[in-house]
């Protein structure tokens, strides 16, 4: 597929700046002048985003074409969503405990300790929950998809699917992207709740608050406009994670090393894109829901 090559250029470029590791970069080692290299990587980036956008367009088009691959979507929801819940719950609890400790330290100074549950709920629901869920899933699922599809590509299993009259894009990429988009909001809700629960545990130990009091304080001032947009924006996170990692895996080249690269880059790119996209989304939501913001 076109873009596989430009992808490498962009990969080197981004990997270079993001994780500051540029092993035998084609860009660095071919001895071409700096300007050419910069032009090369800018062109690479544009082509890369072009490829990714084409993939997005193709996913949308496939939504309206048979077969819909329901069975495979459900299987992926299980793999991506259900299997990530332990990770999300555990991280949520830990994040909730830590956040509530910080909030307490801050709010006590102003004599506003009663506000702790509310402050925690806002912090979690509006930003921390969605973002941490996105980053955790881009680690667990992004790497998994990148490696799995990359492995299938280099061992000709994707060709084999095609030879059996299966539309491999639909069967492998479409199903994963859709499953990611469906799972992220659900996992975010789980993250929010376990975060609150973690916060309660910390509070209960320190101040002996009751569960009922804690949750009524926490959700008392939280409006739907705080909760819904912030949770729904993770659909976009899901599309980014599923799309980026599928793109990198589906177009992987170069044997086992290529598969490793696809897995690493899936995590790096999807988390970076997700963080950048978050800025735009927060701005956008603040524009649509002026009161609620973020």
């Amino acid at each position: 597929m076109a873009g596989a090559e430009s992808l490498t250029g962009f990969a080197h470029f981004l990997v270079g700046i993001v994780i500051n590791e540029d092993p035998k970069s084609k860009l660095a080692s071919d001895g071409s002048p700096l300007l050419e290299r910069i032009i090369g990587s800018v062109r690479g980036s544009i082509e890369w985003f072009g490829g990714l956008s084409l993939l997005g367009a193709q996913v949308i088009r496939e939504c309206f074409r048979r077969p819909f691959e329901f069975g495979e979507v459900i299987r992926q929801v299980f793999e991506i969503g259900w299997r990530s819940t332990p990770l999300i719950i555990l991280s949520g609890l830990a994040v909730g405990i830590v956040l509530s400790m910080h909030t307490r330290a801050t709010l006590e100074r102003f004599g506003a300790a009663a506000m702790i549950p509310t402050a925690l709920a806002f912090a979690l629901v509006k930003e921390t929950g969605p973002l941490i869920t996105g980053l955790l899933i881009s680690g667990r699922v992004g790497a998994g998809i990148g490696a799995e599809l990359g492995g299938m590509r280099v061992t000709e299993q994707i060709d084999a699917l095609e030879s059996l009259a299966v539309n491999s894009f639909k069967y492998l990429v479409f199903t994963r992207v859709v499953a990611c988009a469906l799972c992220l909001p659900l996992l975010t809700i789980i993250m929010d709740f376990s975060g609150m629960l973690g916060g309660f545990i910390a509070e209960a130990i320190i101040s002996g608050s009751t569960l009922r009091l804690y949750f009524s304080q926490a959700f008392g001032s939280l409006a739907f406009a705080d909760f819904i947009p912030a949770t729904l924006k993770t659909v976009v996170f899901g599309l980014i994670i599923g799309g980026t990692s599928s793109f990198l895996g589906y177009n992987a080249t170069g044997g086992a090393a290529g598969v490793g690269r696809a897995a690493t880059q899936s995590v790096v790119f999807s988390s970076v894109l997700l963080i950048l996209m978050n800025v735009i989304l927060v701005k956008f939501i603040a524009f649509l829901f002026p009161v609620a913001g973020g």
Binding site: G151, E156, Q157, D159, A160, L161, E162, S163, L164, A165
Partner: protein, 250 residues
């Protein structure tokens, strides 16, 4: 039906294919008649596997056209290719088994996706195809637990499951002992007698003689020599004559 008025199952017209400016196939043209065996010979890296992938639409030619069963498949996308591919079986050089499911599930996959058979019928058909390639006992094994030759045979079973009218096989006897290799030749011959068109890539000259009604020798992106085994033995090219003298399998 005589061979002359039989229809072409596969037609290559001036097909060229390059990778990164490296020309692999250069203006290649050939036909394969329905129900016959066509053997592609040539040293490694001469584009035999690429030719098979072009027939299946897994690669697109840079120039020229590929016709399969009378349909011009050049430039077709995956969805458009579906009806053509349903008539085709492909054994990959690497076998390309789905490594996350069992051997039986690999074979059953083709049937599940492309037929309305009940799961009972699918199981029976899978079992009988696996038996025909000598893997009757490996239904529940994972591909990673098979030897290279067994994987090859499992890949062949998967390609045969749908009783394709065109069968593409890439080095079926590579990695097989001489006895199994002869068994596979028998199986392929049997398939051909049921009016399936065979395109076989092989380095095994004895099996090329058995399976090939016509043989083509690829070199440097062109067909250096084409004809029956006897004609290739008399070829003006030393390389082709040497190749045909080889006795060993592989």
């Amino acid at each position: 039906m005589s061979e002359i008025d039989a229809k072409n199952a596969i037609e290559f017209n001036g097909v060229s294919k390059s990778f990164d400016k490296r020309c692999v196939l250069n203006n290649l043209s050939f036909n394969v008649k329905e129900g016959t065996g066509y053997v592609l010979l040539g040293r490694s890296g001469t584009g035999k596997s690429v030719t098979l992938k072009l027939i299946c639409g897994l690669l697109q030619p840079d120039a020229g056209s590929v016709k399969v069963a009378g349909v011009d498949i050049t430039g077709m996308d995956s969805t458009a290719l579906t009806p053509v591919r349903k008539q085709m079986g492909f054994l990959f050089q690497s076998a390309a088994l789905f490594d996350s499911i069992s051997v039986g599930a690999n074979v059953a996959f083709a049937l599940k996706r492309n037929t309305d058979k009940s799961s009972e019928e699918i199981h029976q058909r899978t079992q009988s195809v696996l038996e025909s390639v000598g893997l009757g006992k490996e239904y529940d094994k994972m591909p990673s637990d098979l030897s290279g030759g067994m994987r090859k045979r499992a890949g062949l079973a998967r390609a045969l499951a749908l009783e394709p009218s065109i069968l593409l096989v890439d080095e079926p006897s590579a990695g097989l002992d001489p006895i199994t290799s002869a068994e596979i030749d028998d199986l392929l011959l049997h398939v051909k007698q049921n009016n399936t068109t065979l395109v076989v890539v092989t380095h095994n000259i004895p099996s090329a003689r058995v399976l090939g009604d016509r043989l083509a020798f690829l070199d440097n992106g062109i067909i250096l020599a084409e004809g029956t085994a006897e004609e290739l033995e008399q070829s003006e090219h030393q390389l082709v004559r040497d190749f045909m003298k080889s006795k060993q399998g592989g």
